[in-house]
């Protein structure tokens, strides 16, 4: 994508912070992700915090669509999920929020950043999310980012202490951007054959 094209039609890639819990380390990870993505010329990004979106819990599925979130998903070319691992699974509110849309996700790219207090960096939450994302019509990339030992990974101001994460994230972002471009081309120009 040329710089002129990038400005005219940026890739819209929201970052979804998937937990509303107090004291969440995932917020630091999500802010790091937003900062790295925003530095890319071709990307337009923003943080979507499940705590602020606060999907209603007295409805079901697409019946509880949140107009602003659905509109953002429709404009999006790809998504990054920042998900902590709770008892080997994903936060219920993240799943609930994702379930509010379907057509808005179809044939769009998604990458997952796992966060955990232990050494595995949310590998199990990532594995558990994959079948959910496929059923939503999203296309997963095969780079992940694993934020391990999260309580020691960020300083008191939420800044990441391990500089290696910058290069790791950039590899993830590079594939996500590639996939987002390819899928946008396909959604807009390649018809499903009869």
């Amino acid at each position: 994508m040329s710089s002129m094209e990038a400005r005219a039609k940026p890739l819209v890639i929201p970052v979804i912070l998937g937990t509303p819990r107090q004291g969440r380390m995932s917020e630091h990870a999500a802010r790091f992700v937003v900062e790295r993505l925003a530095a890319r010329e071709e990307v337009e990004t923003e943080l979507v915090d499940v705590r602020e979106v606060a999907p209603p819990v007295d409805g079901a599925g697409e019946d509880i669509k949140i107009p602003a979130f659905s509109e953002l998903c429709m404009r999006a070319d790809a998504f990054v999920l920042v998900a902590p691992e709770y008892n080997h699974g994903y936060p219920g509110l993240l799943k609930h929020l994702l379930d509010t849309n379907l057509k808005e996700y179809i044939h769009k790219a998604v990458g997952i950043c796992g966060v955990s207090a232990g050494n595995f960096g949310g590998t199990r939450v990532i594995e558990n999310l994959l079948p959910v994302l496929r059923e939503l019509g999203l296309v997963t990339i095969f780079w992940d980012v694993n934020f391990s030992s999260a309580r020691k990974l960020f300083d008191a101001h939420g800044m990441i202490l391990d500089a290696a994460y910058g290069a790791r994230f950039d590899k993830f972002a590079r594939e996500l951007v590639w996939m987002a471009k390819v899928l946008r081309y396909g959604r807009e120009r390649v018809p499903l054959e009869a």
Partner: protein
């Protein structure tokens, strides 16, 4: 804008551009809600169209 010249194009209800049909899915929830034709697999066949002009995504029962 789109590569294929075969099937007739759906017009975007937002901006009037041609849309591209790029996905289909069986919707198992749709029978009661929309009364669409059952396709024999327990649901209704939906199709999805994307507008390159304004990014709108249209979902409809496959005719």
């Amino acid at each position: 804008m789109v590569e294929d010249r075969g099937a007739p194009r759906v017009t975007c209800p937002r901006c009037g551009d041609e849309m591209n049909r790029h996905a289909e899915k069986i919707d198992t929830q749709a029978i009661a809600d929309e009364g669409g034709p059952e396709d024999g697999s327990g649901g209704v066949l939906k199709e999805f169209h994307t507008c390159a002009g304004c990014r709108f995504v249209l979902e409809r029962v496959s005719p």
